[in-house]
């Protein structure tokens, strides 16, 4: 990380942008799970909209296949009678949204939309991409300094 900062430090003067402030951008993965599709889709749409308003890069809601848990119980409270069983289902729907932004912005976005019955999990990837000036795409950075940045997380960045 120190090596990376030093290399980027070199670029400071060369880029020569008006607002030369540092933005710490991380890859942030928001996982939404719920029993209820309507509320889930609503929260997804709100999150994506909120992120696009702030002009972040969003990887749209990825719909992971729904898990159907089968819960089979005896209907009878006692053991008597023909063995009748109830078959219930528990459907878990899951959506994944990837953002590239700083963590404070994400906290703003996730605090706005709260619907009951939807579970939200936010994981922040450990890779710190330090930009200066305008937003540069991750791929281009790899071209600049393949050795330093890709050290531990090369596969992740390219993918």
């Amino acid at each position: 990380m120190a090596a990376a900062a030093a290399v980027y430090g070199g670029f400071k003067g060369k880029l020569g942008v008006e607002d030369a402030h540092e933005l710490q951008l991380n890859r942030i993965r928001i996982t939404l799970s719920s029993k209820n599709v309507k509320n889930l889709e609503k929260v997804c749409a709100d999150l994506v909209k909120g992120a696009k308003d702030k002009q972040l890069r969003v990887k749209g809601p990825v719909r992971i296949p729904t898990k159907v848990l089968h819960i089979t119980t005896r209907k009878s409270p006692c053991g008597e009678g023909t063995n009748t069983w109830d078959r219930f289902e528990f459907r878990i729907h899951k959506r994944v949204i990837d953002l590239i932004s700083s963590p404070d912005v994400v906290k703003q976005i996730t605090s706005i939309t709260i619907e009951p019955g939807v579970e939200v999990e936010v994981t922040i990837a450990d890779v710190d991409l330090v930009y200066q000036g305008n937003l540069v795409s991750a791929n281009r950075l790899v071209d600049h300094c393949p050795l330093t940045v890709c050290g531990g997380a090369g596969g992740y960045l390219v993918g």
Partner: protein, 224 residues
């Protein structure tokens, strides 16, 4: 005779909504359920306690005291919303009542992160709710009114509310007789097989000196 499925459970996808609306991964689901159960028991105990206190002062008719229709629980990340639907909210409208309830619930639930948010909703037409009718019948039966009269009085109450059909069934040692039986009174129509029909159901046990009487009330509210 065939066995009838609980009409609330039958209609859960369409006309009926869940009373507990939250999500948890299967690992943590049982804790959430236990919390729910504790909350509901706590609220019911609180109301029963206060009802006894109230009846010591004056002999009010119990039919005008509060009956909880249902308790909705919604859990979000940091708050638990508890919405109590009540028929005649007299007791709970007193000043300290809701805060007392909140304190009791906080003790029960041991919530570290979560705030409790209790709100009370008055039910619009109380005599359309089977729970309230069942309490009314229970009160009558405890005062040794003949059960058929009690059922007829309950049906009269519902005439004012807009109802398309009602069925009341009481089972057990009616009038203290040794041999138990089931009696029922029907009015209007009651399409139990029609899923889009809104049918409210309640099963309420009444404890008498002779044993337990089971009261089941089906109310056909409207067809969608």
């Amino acid at each position: 005779m065939g066995q009838k499925i609980n009409p609330l459970g039958f209609r859960l996808g369409t006309t009926q909504n869940h009373h507990s609306f939250w999500f948890a991964q299967p690992k943590n689901y049982s804790e959430g359920l236990q919390e729910d159960k504790k909350i509901r028991n706590c609220i019911k105990n609180y109301i029963q306690k206060n009802r006894k206190k109230g009846s010591n002062r004056k002999m009010e008719s119990d039919s005008s005291s509060e009956v909880i229709t249902h308790i909705e629980i919604q859990k979000e990340i940091d708050t638990i919303h508890v919405i109590i639907h009540i028929g005649f909210p007299n007791l709970l409208k007193k000043k300290g009542a809701i805060e007392e309830l909140e304190k009791d619930l906080q003790k029960e639930v041991n919530s570290v992160n979560q705030r409790l948010n209790i709100s009370i909703e008055k039910v619009k037409e109380p005599y359309r709710q089977p729970n309230i009718l069942a309490e009314y019948i229970a009160f009558q039966l405890k005062n040794r009114v003949s059960f058929r009269k009690a059922m007829k009085k309950a049906i009269e109450l519902t005439k004012k509310a807009d109802i398309k059909g009602i069925k009341i069934q009481i089972a057990g040692r009616l009038a203290g007789k040794e041999i138990a039986r089931a009696e029922c009174i029907k009015k209007g129509r009651l399409p139990l097989q029609t899923i889009r029909a809104k049918i409210d159901y309640c099963c309420y046990p009444i404890r008498t000196i002779y044993g337990v009487l089971g009261v089941k009330i089906w109310i056909f509210v409207e067809e969608e």
